[in-house]
């Protein structure tokens, strides 16, 4: 408990808690508790999104006119803690947490008016086209090209690691529209429908066995120029603004604290030597998570003050993802062989296949493996360290 709550805030907490308790259907609760990555399925994500939307709690931090809640920082913190406790399905962040804030900051009135309500209502389901095979950590060297042809851009090239590309209705992407002295210049930020002619999607199978990512190929895909966000050749500005939200927009600590609490229960059942070793490491992690929680709260206050998270977001992304991985390490260890089980068939809601071990074990390995990507996507940990040493320390 880092913030002292008023009576009103306590009442708010009770309200949020009651909402989660009643709003989650058994299937959504199952989906939330059996996630194997930071994403839920499109179906579960949208079902849960609709419930939040109807409640008016879908995008608390957005401006009120676009659906925000005008909550205080404390209220947002309470909501994050209760959400971590209730474990609903994950919302797809691409529209709600990434493109949405980017449009709010850099979009035209027309773009805001058209897209924001559709994002909220789940009418559009977005994916993010950033990385390319030769442009990963070195994102600015991306080659996927868009050539202006009258009122359109014509796209050719490919994007890779595009989460849920195969399920998305739209993509926001970075394309090259020019070559200048710095690779960051000449990049443009575009919005496009995934059913446009010339798009091919090839799912990528991951180490976990799942295929939530895909590679997307563009063959003379025509995009209306009105779908450009920001100026031509100046898409990097939009991308940087958006990346700060992707990296540091949220509060990861409440979820990590819940995971630590779950682990504590698991650890209690271990044989002595393993239990004491695990508890020592867990307590060590807990101190880091608590520190991160405070830092995230301060960052929220800072974001509110300046409008966007700033370069400190890199630090929070770095610490948050590494702590998340450290916790999954402990989870694998705490469950022993049950935490190593490979039984995808038993995962579905009301599956007929009896699990080899406890239900918690079924998601452990897939989540562990998928979560290794957390220190790679949205700028690898190495890139975050580069950013901190340059932007913050001036090295």
């Amino acid at each position: 408990m880092k913030l002292a709550f008023t009576a009103e805030e306590n009442a708010f907490r009770d309200e949020v808690r009651a909402f989660f308790a009643t709003a989650l259907t058994p299937e959504l609760a199952h989906a939330g508790r059996h996630r194997t990555s930071v994403y839920s399925s499109k179906e579960h994500a949208l079902a849960w999104q609709k419930i939040l939307y109807d409640q008016g709690w879908l995008v608390p931090s957005w401006p009120e006119q676009y659906g925000g809640c005008n909550w205080s920082l404390t209220q947002r913190y309470i909501f994050a803690c209760e959400r971590a406790r209730a474990k609903p399905p994950a919302l797809s962040p691409m529209g709600l947490s990434m493109l949405g804030p980017a449009l709010l900051g850099c979009g035209t009135e027309a773009q805001k008016t058209h897209y924001l309500p559709r994002i909220l209502r789940g009418q559009d389901y977005w994916c993010q086209g950033y990385s390319e095979p030769q442009a990963g950590s070195d994102l600015a060297t991306l080659q996927c090209s868009a050539v202006r042809d009258g009122d359109h851009y014509v796209l050719n090239g490919t994007k890779i690691w595009t989460t849920h590309a195969q399920y998305a209705t739209h993509m926001f992407c970075l394309v090259r529209t020019g070559t200048f002295d710095r690779p960051q210049k000449g990049i443009t930020f575009l919005l496009l429908p995934m059913d446009a002619e010339g798009i091919t999607i090839t799912p990528i199978r991951f180490v976990s066995g799942a295929a939530t990512q895909a590679q997307v190929f563009f063959d003379n895909v025509r995009v209306d120029a009105s779908q450009r966000v920001g100026e031509e050749n100046d898409g990097w500005t939009v991308a940087k603004y958006l990346l700060e939200f992707e990296r540091g927009g949220g509060a990861s600590a409440p979820g990590l604290l819940e995971a630590a609490e779950d682990l504590r229960t698991l650890a209690a059942e271990l044989p002595d030597a393993e239990r004491s070793a695990l508890e020592t490491r867990l307590a060590g992690l807990l101190t880091r998570i608590e520190a991160l929680e405070i830092a995230e709260l301060q960052a929220l206050a800072e974001t509110e003050r300046r409008g966007s998270p700033g370069p400190g977001a890199s630090m929070l992304k770095l610490l948050g993802t590494e702590l998340s991985q450290a916790l999954t390490e402990l989870q694998v260890e705490a469950l022993g062989t049950y935490g190593l089980v490979h039984q995808p068939g038993a995962l579905a809601f009301e599956s007929n296949e009896a699990p080899i071990g406890p239900a918690a074990g079924l998601t452990t390995v897939p989540f562990y493996l998928n979560n290794r990507a957390a220190t790679i996507y949205a700028g690898s940990s190495e890139v975050q360290r580069n950013i901190i040493s340059k932007a913050v320390l001036g090295l």
Partner: protein
């Protein structure tokens, strides 16, 4: 400790490397993963290993073995670990055959070991009943009645437990689960009353849950806790050797990738932060290698600190393999996350190897206890 490999050991190592590279490369493991077949390994490949003498490498000449010892066995497992070559070496030759060769039940050993050497019998050790390594945790009951013993209970995650012809069952004769006293190891033919259900783990090796309700002659008893400890230590040291090969392979593949992948206009291996991390990993692998060689030597020389050396090796090797497999994936970036690339295999294999026969916490604690801490 032998500080360098002798001629025999060097020859065996070279043979194993060549064999695995040509006959059991990672692509063969990938094919098995997608299509495991009844045993979870390729029977032809296994027969070829038997013909190379690998099934008798630690066994005396009297039963058809070559008696080259554990260091020689380690050099082979290092190579199978490197290539993820699937075989019942660990289950049958290391764990199974050791239980017979170290047993005081010479009569039984003299009958069965020649069959292990010539490949006609495969063994497996049925020990665990919980998801955590508990050497003395057996609850499965052994009830004597006259000259017969009835074994009744369940065993979990038995490596190659679905394909071995004979199972060495760790049973409780007296006392309570957790007691070191009161354990008995019995050699039980599968048809005597063992049914198996496959249990699949992340490494895609073959494990089984065994339901046992079998009655065997008392003469099938191999020994008690002392034998079990000795068998497990051989298994741990051998497993550590396999892990060494895996760590080296993951590291080598990563170094190669660092020299090839370009970002920011240069190969990523030219970035000093990655160089230094690679240098540190190199040092850690060398340290772990030293502990593995020492553990194998300690077994060969019958040193009285063998248990200490084995726990040191399993703990250290587990820690290093863990770090190497994580760094390997991180340094590969997105491409390392794909099933198409081999590097993920090593991570999944590593997590299971770490847990088998005692994880880092188990062996650190055992090491500390043995060292008097």
């Amino acid at each position: 400790m032998a500080l360098v490999l002798n001629e025999d050991q060097s020859f065996i190592q070279a043979t194993a490397a060549e064999f695995c590279a040509s006959k059991a490369p990672v692509s063969a493991f990938r094919a098995l993963r997608d299509n495991p077949g009844p045993a979870g390994y390729d029977e032809d490949t296994w027969r070829a290993m038997v013909e190379l003498g690998w099934s008798g490498i630690t066994l005396p000449e009297a039963v058809g073995g070559t008696d080259f010892g554990w260091q020689a066995m380690g050099t082979i497992l290092e190579q199978t670990g490197r290539y993820l070559a699937a075989s019942p070496l660990l289950s049958s030759v290391v764990l199974g055959a050791s239980a017979l060769s170290l047993s005081e039940n010479r009569a039984l050993a003299e009958v069965v070991l020649p069959q292990v050497v010539d490949g006609t019998v495969r063994l497996a050790l049925a020990l665990e009943e919980s998801p955590h390594h508990q050497p003395y945790g057996a609850a499965l009951t052994a009830t004597a009645s006259g000259d017969a013993v009835q074994l009744k209970g369940e065993k979990r995650f038995v490596m190659d437990g679905g394909s071995a012809e004979q199972i060495i069952v760790v049973a409780r004769e007296s006392g309570a689960p957790g007691d070191r006293d009161g354990l008995g190891l019995y050699l039980v033919p599968r048809e005597a009353g063992i049914s198996a259900v496959a249990e699949k783990l992340a490494d895609c090796r073959a494990y089984a849950r065994l339901t046992i309700d079998a009655t065997v002659p008392a003469s099938q008893r191999l020994g008690g806790a002392e034998l079990l400890d000795a068998v497990l230590d051989r298994g741990r040291a051998a497993l550590a050797a396999e892990m060494l090969g895996a760590a080296q392979a993951a590291f080598d593949q990563t170094i190669a990738y660092l020299k090839e992948r370009k970002q920011f206009g240069q190969v990523i291996g030219s970035f000093q932060a990655l160089k230094h991390r690679a240098a540190d990993l190199f040092g850690e692998i060398e340290l772990a290698r030293s502990t593995v060689l020492d553990a194998l030597s300690a077994l060969d020389e019958g040193r009285d600190d063998a248990a200490l050396a084995v726990s040191l090796a399993k703990a250290k090797m587990g820690e290093v393999l863990h770090a190497v497999s994580c760094e390997a994936l991180q340094m590969h970036g997105g491409i390392g996350m794909t099933d198409e690339f081999d590097i993920g295999f090593y991570m999944k294999r590593a997590r299971v190897q770490e847990a088998l026969l005692g994880n880092q916490a188990f062996h650190r604690s055992r090491y500390a206890a043995l060292a008097g801490y």
